[in-house]
Symmetry: C2
Subunit: 450 residues, 2 copies
């Protein structure tokens, strides 16, 4: 939806043309309505929410940002709140409750049925980012003694409340998950086929437990092209499912986390514009300080060579270029390795193949860079050929070392169960800088001060 359309809709609000607005909203997608509600003046929020068609208001509410959700909950009556929560899927309710103040949570729980309340409370107790905390209980459960037409009949009767009916879960009397069934197979087989004949069973069941990390859920769904992943408790009893729309969100969340870690930012759940200045500063300052203090190392390396630098002032001017190239080459390598590890394309056991490949790639890149650098220095001038040679030789070795460090650090991190994403640009550059300067001064001393 375009901003212009939103403005037209808001104009209707200002003119109190609620009937026209109602009929326009009825035609809109709930996601767009939620966007619209997030864009309008706060004073119109509750009145607009109230004129939404009843069958979509819970859906719209699920898509709204948490500030607007909170505003609405504070303004509607207990009975409106009761109906809203009963109409929402459990996983959306839990999502919403995780982001609002405790007094709002209390009010929502008070307004719900005891059974719903119990479920919500159980969900809120699962650790953040576990399968339990993101699952929903609205799945289709079929007993194994049914046949296909009985199963379809049951889905027809109860399906309206389910978050998905496209993957059905077969359970025995003790609610153990014993089979998985696509609605497609159910619909396309003979009506009197037994479920046990068409369901995937035993080894083919792909499931997670409530305590598994959400990343595991996303990896399984991506690898096996699943529309939903079943969640079981420690005794293999089916307790919930995670649907593909939430899995897509998890994938983006995990990617965002990797992007943030690679820039050494503490992960943040809020969007950029919603995060406060102090929280944002806090997310950034720790690593900035750590890296600044680590740079003491490079300063020490330099201060020991002050005599050398005073004699050959030209060498100073090449320092940033050398450190920059080393950092850039290292970042390229570590990014590839971090991504390969995250997508499961690379494993720890591939390390030696990786290093061997990186050394060969480095030899190619380093040769090109060293030659071009020598030519560049000849054109720009400022020193003599022996000094240009020193800089170019250091460049060659820097790229070589940067590539080896760049592929080693992420794999080392995985080995000691740290997130490889931490070993990206910034941290790597600090380490490569020290190596670069040591090599540079060693070569300079050897060549120039004999």
């Amino acid at each position: 939806m375009e901003e212009k359309e939103f403005e037209e809709l808001e104009a209707l609000l200002e003119q109190n043309k609620f009937t026209v607005l109602h009929s326009l909203l009825k035609e809109m997608n709930p996601v767009d309505i939620a966007d619209f509600l997030g864009s309008i003046d706060e004073k119109y929020l509750v009145v607009t929410f109230r004129i939404l068609p009843k069958d979509i208001s819970a859906d719209v509410f699920s898509y709204m940002d948490s500030d607007s959700q909170e505003n609405i909950v504070r303004s509607i009556t207990d009975s409106e709140l009761h109906r809203l929560v009963e109409d929402m899927y459990i996983d959306d309710t839990v999502d919403f409750l995780e982001d609002v103040p405790a007094n709002v949570v209390t009010r929502v729980l008070k307004a719900t049925d005891p059974k719903t309340r119990e479920t919500i409370n159980r969900f809120l107790n699962y650790a953040e980012d576990t399968a339990g905390s993101i699952m929903t209980t609205e799945m289709v459960q079929l007993h194994t003694h049914l046949n296909a037409s009985e199963a379809i009949e049951q889905i027809r009767k109860t399906g309206i409340d389910k978050e998905t009916i496209y993957t059905c879960y077969c359970i025995d009397e003790k609610r153990h998950l014993v089979g998985i069934l696509d609605l497609k197979d159910l619909l396309l087989c003979e009506p009197n086929t037994k479920l046990t004949d068409i369901m995937d069973d035993d080894k083919q069941i792909i499931s997670v437990t409530t305590h598994d990390d959400q990343e595991t859920v996303a990896d399984l769904a991506r690898k096996y092209d699943l529309l939903s992943v079943p969640v079981t408790d420690s005794e293999n009893r089916l307790v919930g499912i995670i649907t593909i729309d939430d899995i897509v969100d998890i994938i983006e969340e995990e990617n965002t986390e990797d992007f943030e870690k690679m820039a050494l930012l503490s992960p943040s759940d809020d969007t950029y514009l919603k995060t406060g200045v102090f929280k944002m500063s806090k997310n950034r300052i720790i690593w900035l300080v750590i890296l600044m203090i680590s740079a003491t190392l490079t300063a020490q390396i330099i201060s020991k060579k002050e005599m050398l630098l005073a004699d050959f002032a030209f060498l100073i001017s090449a320092m940033p270029m050398l450190m920059g190239t080393g950092g850039n080459a290292g970042s390229q390598v570590s990014t590839l390795i971090i991504r390969g590890l995250a997508l499961g394309e690379l494993k720890i056991r591939d390390y030696f193949r990786i290093v061997f490949k990186e050394i060969r790639v480095a030899l190619c890149c380093a040769t090109v860079l060293a030659v071009l650098n020598f030519l560049r220095l000849m054109i720009v001038g400022g020193g003599d050929y022996l000094q240009y040679f020193v800089v170019s030789a250091a460049m060659f070795l820097t790229v070589l070392i940067a590539n080896v460090i760049g592929c080693t650090l992420p794999i080392l991190a995985r080995l000691v169960k740290l997130d490889p994403a931490l070993m990206a640009g910034p941290l790597l550059s600090t380490i490569v800088d020290a190596a670069t300067l040591s090599i540079y001064f060693a070569i300079a001393q050897f060549v120039l001060m004999r």
Copy 2:
């Protein structure tokens, strides 16, 4: 599946125990079978593929890597190839054909029915990464004059060949896309309900055209929680759909591309271990050279200040630390902005709000860093208090400037239709380095050389 299980399966192959192997493979997930086929000795590949249950071999083939696919196609008979291609979904066939040599493509096309061949040829002509190149034609199309039970009957008859039956597309006599229908609604309504009464129509239809970028497809599916996205031609006729499993792959592909661009790597479609050394070097060398040459700027800045640096050698030792901190602060900001733009959370029009926030965040971070840096220098020693002050003041201004540059560059890139991901760590550091050194030397000259 564990590596150990694969080894057990391969042992069966070596012992020619094909019947046992067949019965074990029958129980496995096609994705795992494809993994297994990728792990075994090449000489067993075709024989193992041939003993697969017929109903899953096309599925397994779709999940295999392109080298193994090529090996199999080269070894099987024309009639086997014919059946294989007819059993595969069009989008999987196109994926496979895009990665193999021309002579294999010719052989596959020869072995297929004229109608399939025509479709494949049309798909191969769509530009890479467009909706047309990734869609499939196996969707459920329902004419609007049907009622619910007639529609279900049609799905029962034709559904077996469709990639998904869970979202159905309603068309008029001219094949125009006029409505979208969830199977759920179809199944749960009264049997004699008209499709036009339950389908989403008009404004609610979310679709793309064949020439739209795959990123658009992924964004829509993510935003609206779609299980599949319909693709139309320029006259709004339905020509295909893109299903959620492919959309998940697109999301990961687009993320990988962003990761690569942020490290200034030319994007590569192959996995790390499959990319050759020269291709990999080529992907990296261009930006390394460009950045190395750009560093001439910093070298020039330094060489003009050689006198200053010769007099105050301590200043040299702080250079890497200042440039490092500037680069790190800038990377943190640009990562947040790049990700915000990619997920649609930030827009160009938010620029002034972003800059205002970044300045405030920078003031917090810069103050902490400058104070800690002063203390650090007091402890480490090497210069006098006036010099420490120069370094700390330069640190303060560097962080401030780095934050402003870090949020400006990605938005500027978006404004001129470049990918904001290019404006990450490496490119940013090179620009921030020059600014940092200029500030540093200006302050040093002003304070120390009066």
